[in-house]
Amino acid sequence: MNMPVRFLLRLGAALLACFCLLPARAADAPLKVVASFSILADMVRAVGGDAVSVSMLVGPDGDAHVFEPRPADARRVAGADLVVVNGLDFEGWMTRLIRSAGYRGKVVVASRGVTPRRMAEAHDHAHGPAGQAAHGSVDPHAWQDLANGMVYVENLRAALVEARPAQAGAINARAAAYAAQLREMDAFVRETLARVPLAQRRVITSHDAFGYFGAAYGLELLSPQGRSTESEASAADVARLIRQMKAHQVRAVFVENISNPRMVERIAREGGGVVGGRLYSDALSADPVADSYLKMFRHNATVLAGAMLAR
């Protein structure tokens, strides 16, 4: 064999090796995941670890109900390898954003498999006639029950393993560890709320995003506003609530991080209660109080129990 032929062969082998290596290199780069809001982003980060680089559309303290996507968001969705949404009609704007961004990859619906709840009947009157209220009034805030959170984790785990089969082992291990943490937190929440006598486990919050939480942890929730923060409370709503507070002797009223605090304060004052502090429902906090899914639960349970026992 003469030199040029041998050289060419070697070159060919090298090129072949390069082509073989290329996909492996791409698989090493973190999977670009876009999550619709802060809580999902935190879960993806917990399960994905260094296999993913997560960005979110609605940041901490933002309200996903009224989010208006900006061009930068469309660009981020377009460049994503995987898009994660909550589903249950939580992100009404998402379908349009995905279409306008031209994203053709997989969309993971994190809430797939949870049993959806209806919104509390007491507020359906605000959403028009009864038929309309019954239709499409699924409560999207499923993550407020840690059992559902575990379903989310399983969905995310399956999606990430499918996207990165090479890192399946690490992803599975992280998911298992995270699920164990969720289970521990679930026990903590139950323990904390169990300190409150059953008859006192009743609170008012300005945004009824805690339907799943209430059902899971035996807490009765009253609320001055409907599901969406868009609706303005009427005098009748407020009056009903004050009467309710007095009748049931509810003393704990909570201001959510994304609703009008003055309204809640007024109601609390007039119903003879206290404003219990901040609960986090639809978004994590920007400050370290509740900047992760787990910390959010610890914070909410502690604050709730503290206020209900404050009487």
């Binding site: 005098a235 407020v238 309204m263 007039e270």
Partner: protein, 296 residues
């Protein structure tokens, strides 16, 4: 008879006796009506009906900046919105002096810039729910501080209006007169704009920027159909604004309606009623009167 009378009384007064938030809302409406009525009438007479609307939008960036620094703080948001709206008023005034452009055109330009800046600041900083509260307010959530602010503003506005009433009214009817006075006319105009901004700021605490203008302009426009003198119109406007607030609150209580729009819609109903049946120049009202005159 007496039973139905007490029933009526209960319907009309009961909610205000039972609930403090209804009383507060009513008092806020009263204070707002007292200053908004006369201010609205003067705006109409000075052919500045839409300037109120423009100024209301100009509050937005100031309120947003106040919100950014201090959260839902009444003081910061009020001060911020007052400064922003005054800047717009002064800017528009300066343009009128320096260029041949008319006042309404420069107001339009400045308020649009301010509005866009406000929306920009709010959406860069936080969620747009905050924006909803600024635009539509929450009269049911009026607290001590807000009530105090509204009452103080109403008192100051009425007192200052009383002091500069004559030149203001004269200028409405005869702009040349005050121009002959020299710089004083401009001073009165500026003072008037200051009062306007103060009124709007207090209205925005209770009703939001958009609805606050409704309570100011609708009764003022309606008052023209019922009274001839400026004082008469101002009284009618204030009364109508207060009754709108009262009826809107009752509607919100009994019919489960959002309170801000209910109040402004009652004022709108007064306007349509006056338009048709008003004593002076109402579509039917003046004809009926003429008819009655002929018969008698």
């Amino acid at each position: 008879m007496s039973v139905s009378m007490t029933g009526m009384f209960d319907l009309a007064v009961g909610p205000f006796i039972e609930f403090g938030f209804m009383r507060r809302a009513l008092v806020a409406c009263l204070a707002l009506a007292l200053c908004s009525g006369p201010m609205g009438v003067l705006l109409v007479l000075r052919r500045m009906s839409l300037v109120g609307d423009a100024m209301a939008h100009a509050l937005l960036p100031g309120a947003a900046v106040g919100f950014m620094f201090a959260g839902f703080s009444l003081g910061a948001m009020s001060a911020g919105s007052f400064v922003a709206a005054m800047l717009v008023a002064l800017g528009a005034g300066a343009v009128v002096r320096l260029t041949p452009q008319r006042e309404d055109a420069s107001f339009a330009a400045f308020y649009l810039i301010a509005l866009a800046a406000g929306v920009m600041i709010i959406s860069l900083h936080g969620s747009s729910v905050d924006l909803m509260h600024v635009l539509f307010g929450a009269i049911l959530a009026v607290d001590d501080a807000a009530l105090l602010l509204v009452a103080c503003v109403a008192s100051v506005v009425l007192a200052v209006l009383a002091l500069i009433y004559r030149p203001l009214v004269v200028e409405c009817c005869d702009p040349e007169f005050l121009r002959a006075l020299g710089g004083r006319g401009g001073l009165y105009h500026l003072l008037f704009l200051g009062l306007l901004v103060a009124t709007l700021v207090s209205g925005f605490q209770a009703l939001g920027t958009l609805m606050g203008v409704g309570l100011m302009m609708l009764p003022a426009v309606s008052a023209r159909f019922w009274a001839r003198s400026v004082g008469g119109m101002a009284s009618v406007a204030a009364l109508m604004a207060f009754v709108s607030g009262y009826a809107g609150l009752l509607g919100s209580y009994y019919a489960d309606l959002p309170s801000g729009p209910a109040i402004v819609l009652v004022a709108g109903g007064f306007y349509l009623f006056s338009l048709v049946l008003g004593r002076h120049e109402g579509i039917l009202g003046s004809r009926m009167r003429r008819h009655l005159h002929k018969e008698s």
